[in-house]
């Protein structure tokens, strides 16, 4: 037996001036199930709320309708009041007779009539409401950061500073990521290592941070608040806690043919190596493809020279299983492969390099010790041509349709640094546009062009080839409107950046959605830029879209603050207005699963008792912690097995009928 109460608010004169509240009350009283109706000047005031509370108690109301302002304004207030009086908060419906009625209709008759209809619809709906209980789920107070570049490090540091334990999982043997490979950073020209390495050390020493390097996330299950991850820690063949990082093994290792990844393959490194001098952890790792001992069983030199006894050729991959409340993706980027662009002869001419390779060439710890030398013959170049937008803003399908954002600035940086250090070197830059939106960015670019005399040529390069020991660049100067041919010693390609290939794998594991370029999609492009649509998954750095270091760091901090906000809760209350599947009606067709943006629907095959008939059936199951209650699944379900609590098919149809009455 329904015992409903209807409360009509005047909102001072906001409602009462154009809606005859007495008539709404009178009309309410004759609605089915309504046993009490009353109006009041300000229902949201304490006195108004007390009227509601008293009526609930006095008349034993089991559902109420408040005719007032928008539910977006005071639904929560009235739900709280109802709850305080012992009524389930989801037995409250709001008829919006202010924003949707009194404020827009000047004619009192029309306004009153409409208010009555809206009240009637709300009553019809609340008749079908069922008490709902917000679910609770635990929050594991530990975060996982996937990726140990500047984005991951900053996020982890901020979370750790707030007192929560964080694990950083880094696939390489050291943290530091791309930023560690950079020489100087724009627009301030400070040394990249000088600002990054202290942060790396901080990450190592912070007692709340655990670094899991040379490791990859293998499996993730669960949902916001309690994810379970399985992490594969690849065998280093070096005991991490024993190795002192002295580097003796590196100098003795007879296998020195491995390409030095840190130097972009521009020189070689031994089979046992520490990626770079400031690596964290400063521990050697054996490249098992290069190690003679691991491949032939002979050698074992490193074991002999290691005074700490850290070498262990029998080491196996280890698995770490851990629970996390939140996961941050900071999987970063890589430059795209320049060899698909035949016209630049990257794969055939040694002196055609990518910007990241140039970065290593210019770095004091790089293959040339920081001296600008041509890779082919180690001679000093007298002319360098930079080519911008290699694979960026490219809709041909070979490259990427987006702007990689950082190339204009780092090219200006390279040009400026070269002109500064080697004034004899001519520098030409071919560009489509120069994009410099950032603090002090345009000033920086202009300095390169004006003070350092860098020759900016608007136009694209058509072909690069080798001729008589130098390179020839043919391009077009769009401003002079002429073809130009330049003889030069080096060509530097500003290759587009793309999400690291691990991002797709990780995103799939986390059911985080990715866009057509494999960047992780944010929950809202403007309002929730560091969250993934999947609750509990956050985005940090270039995995979300191209960005420079300051942007990455600020986004990393933003992601951390979201994680801290989540982890500081003891319990998560879940929105009870979620989808629910009636397993007796479910056909098991998987349509709902396919339209769910949150991966909240899974299928289970189990024994079902359908009115006495026992059958094993495949049926949909909604994970209430993941479901956000959009209702997309309800409409693809032809049998109506999938319905949405709080906005059920029957409730909405009852509203429709009440309005059309």
């Amino acid at each position: 037996m329904q015992r409903l109460g209807v409360f009509v608010c005047w909102c001072g004169s906001n409602i009462a001036a154009t809606v005859d509240v007495d008539r709404v009350v009178a009309e309410a009283k004759v609605q089915p199930g309504v046993v009490f109706a009353q109006d009041y000047q300000y229902m949201c005031s304490e006195a108004g709320q007390n009227i509601i509370k008293d009526a609930i108690k006095q008349y034993g109301l089991n559902g109420i309708v408040v005719c007032s302002c928008s539910p977006r304004m005071h639904e929560a207030t009235f739900r709280k009041a109802a709850e305080a009086a012992g009524l389930n908060p989801y037995m409250v419906e709001i008829a919006n007779i202010r924003e949707h009625c009194s404020w827009i209709h000047k004619d009192k008759e029309a306004g009153t009539e409409k208010a009555c209809v809206l009240m009637r619809a709300a009553v019809a709906k609340v008749l079908l409401n069922t008490p709902l209980k917000a679910g609770e789920s635990k929050v594991v107070k530990r975060a996982l950061v996937i990726g140990g570049g500047i984005a991951g490090i900053q996020t982890a540091l901020d979370i750790a500073d707030a007192g929560f334990p964080v694990d950083i999982v880094e696939k390489n043997a050291t943290i530091g990521g791309r930023m560690a490979q950079l020489d100087k950073t724009f627009p301030t020209l400070d040394c990249s290592s000088c600002i990054l390495t202290p942060k790396m050390v901080e990450a190592k020493t912070n007692e709340n941070i655990r670094l899991i390097t040379y490791a990859e996330v293998e499996e993730v299950s669960g949902f916001v608040g309690s994810f379970k991850a399985k992490i594969r820690k690849k065998a280093r063949f070096v005991k991490e806690d024993v190795c002192t990082g002295c580097g003796v093994c590196m100098s003795k290792c007879p296998s020195k043919k491995g390409l030095n990844e840190f130097n972009m393959g521009l020189n070689n490194r031994p089979a046992i190596y520490i990626p770079f001098a400031q690596a964290i952890p400063n521990v050697a790792v054996i490249d098992k493809t290069q190690c003679i001992k691991l491949n032939t069983g002979k050698c074992g030199l490193c074991e002999k020279v290691c005074t700490a006894g850290a070498i262990d050729y029998t080491q196996q991959d280890e698995f770490i299983e851990e629970e996390y409340g939140a996961i941050v993706m900071a999987t970063g980027f890589r430059p795209i492969d320049a060899s698909k662009f035949d016209e630049y002869s990257y794969s055939t001419c040694k002196d055609v390099v990518t910007s990241l390779e140039l970065e290593r060439i210019m770095n004091a710890a790089g293959p040339t010790g920081g001296v600008l030398l041509r890779p082919s013959d180690g001679k000093h170049p007298h002319s360098i041509v930079f080519v911008q937008c290699v694979g960026s803003r490219d809709v041909s399908g070979r490259g990427k349709p987006y702007c990689s954002k950082i190339c204009c600035m780092y090219t200006a940086k390279h040009a400026m640094l070269i002109r500064d250090k080697y004034p004899d070197v001519e520098v030409h830059v071919f560009y489509i546009d120069v994009r410099t939106p950032g603090k002090n960015f345009d000033e920086f670019y202009r300095r390169a062009a004006e003070q350092y005399d860098v020759d900016y040529i608007k136009g694209q390069v058509g072909k690069v080839w080798e001729e008589d020991g130098h390179l020839v660049v043919r391009g077009v100067d769009l401003i002079a409107n002429e073809q130009i041919v330049l003889n030069t010693d080096m060509v530097v390609l500003a290759t587009a950046i793309e999400p690291d290939p691990t991002a797709r794998k990780v995103a799939n594991m986390l059911t985080a959605s990715i866009d057509t370029n494999d960047f992780i999609t944010e929950a809202h492009p403007k309002l929730r830029p560091v969250e993934s649509p999947t609750a509990g998954i956050f985005l940090s750095g270039v995995c979300q879209g191209p960005k420079d270091i300051p942007e990455t760091v600020s986004q990393a901090g933003a992601a951390a603050s979201k994680v801290i906000g989540l982890l500081s809760k003891n319990k998560l209350t879940t929105n009870p207005c979620v989808a629910h599947s009636d397993e007796l009606l479910c056909n098991g067709c998987s349509c709902c699963e396919k339209v769910c943006p949150y991966g909240a629907i899974s299928y289970d095959t189990h024994l079902i008792n359908d009115h006495g008939v026992k059958e094993t059936r495949r049926v949909a199951l909604v994970n209430e912690a993941l479901c956000q209650g959009c209702g997309a699944c309800t409409v693809v379900c032809p049998s109506g097995a999938m319905d949405l609590k709080g906005f059920s098919n029957k409730q909405i149809m009852a509203e429709v009928e009440a309005i059309c009455l």
Binding site: L585, N587, C589, Y603, V636, S639, N649
Partner: protein, 333 residues
Amino acid sequence: MQKVSEKVIARARELMHDGTVSKVVGWKAGEFFYDCEPNVFETEESLKDLVYNRFCGANLSKYMIKNSIASGGEGAGKVLVLLKPCDTYSFNQLLTEHRIDRENVYILGVGCEGMCDIDRIRERGFKGITGVLEADSGNELVITTLYGEGKVNIDDVLLNKCDSCKGKAHKIYDELISDNEDEGPRGDRFEGVRELEAMSPEQRFAFWQAELSKCIRCNACRNACPACSCRKCVFDNNASGIASKANTDSFEEKMFHIIRAFHVAGRCTDCGECTRVCPQGIPLHLFNRKYIKDINDFYGEYAAGEEAGQRGPLISFTEQDIEPGHAVVKGGN
């Protein structure tokens, strides 16, 4: 057709005999030779009633929901199902929707040269029909009657659903018995839809009003449709808010047919069973083909059941999809 028919029946017996299958889902002649109806044969003996002829229009895919799932269990053999080329689309669609346990099914693809409509034969003046035989010329049928025999052109007496044909290729099978080369699709299946689209809204309304007012809500269309395979239909479910069993008002039959067509939109393989089984002769396929045509026009060609595991057009989207307002204009032209 005769040869294929003999081979099919012999092969079904063989498969049952050697224990490959324990059941056969096929057609059985009814009271009259042209009343072929779906049947589950559970014994070798019962297979004497198995037929395959010009009147086996019924699409047997839907029967595999129950028969493939129920047959699971230790020791139970597979279930043999006879599928014509167009039936395989429905079978695939049901596989996509996890409604059939493929493991338990043995599909014998059977060649088809078009199925006949006894009413269309009668319309050509034949009375007291006793048999329909293949003529030697290939393109004709010999109709034997109590009063003598006559010939008809096959194309004149095909089922409505065979007026256009998706082609002779089976999309899924374990074994094939067919003499036909696939010549691709035949006939313009959207002709009827286009004719309606060309009418004025008033004419269209009058057309559907006249057609749908014949509906007696017998649910034959729903029961025959392989896509309409919900365990419980929303129209039978009191909790759904739209349950109804009879046409109590002038809109309800429209509501039923629009919702039915919408529920199968993107899943309907255009098998034509709805129209074939309608006792009132309502051209229900014109609903489904409208959706298929719109889907093709708006979102690119899509054939439900072309292969198992496809992602249907209503569970996909692109960022550049047509706006509903434009769709109405485009769909109408």
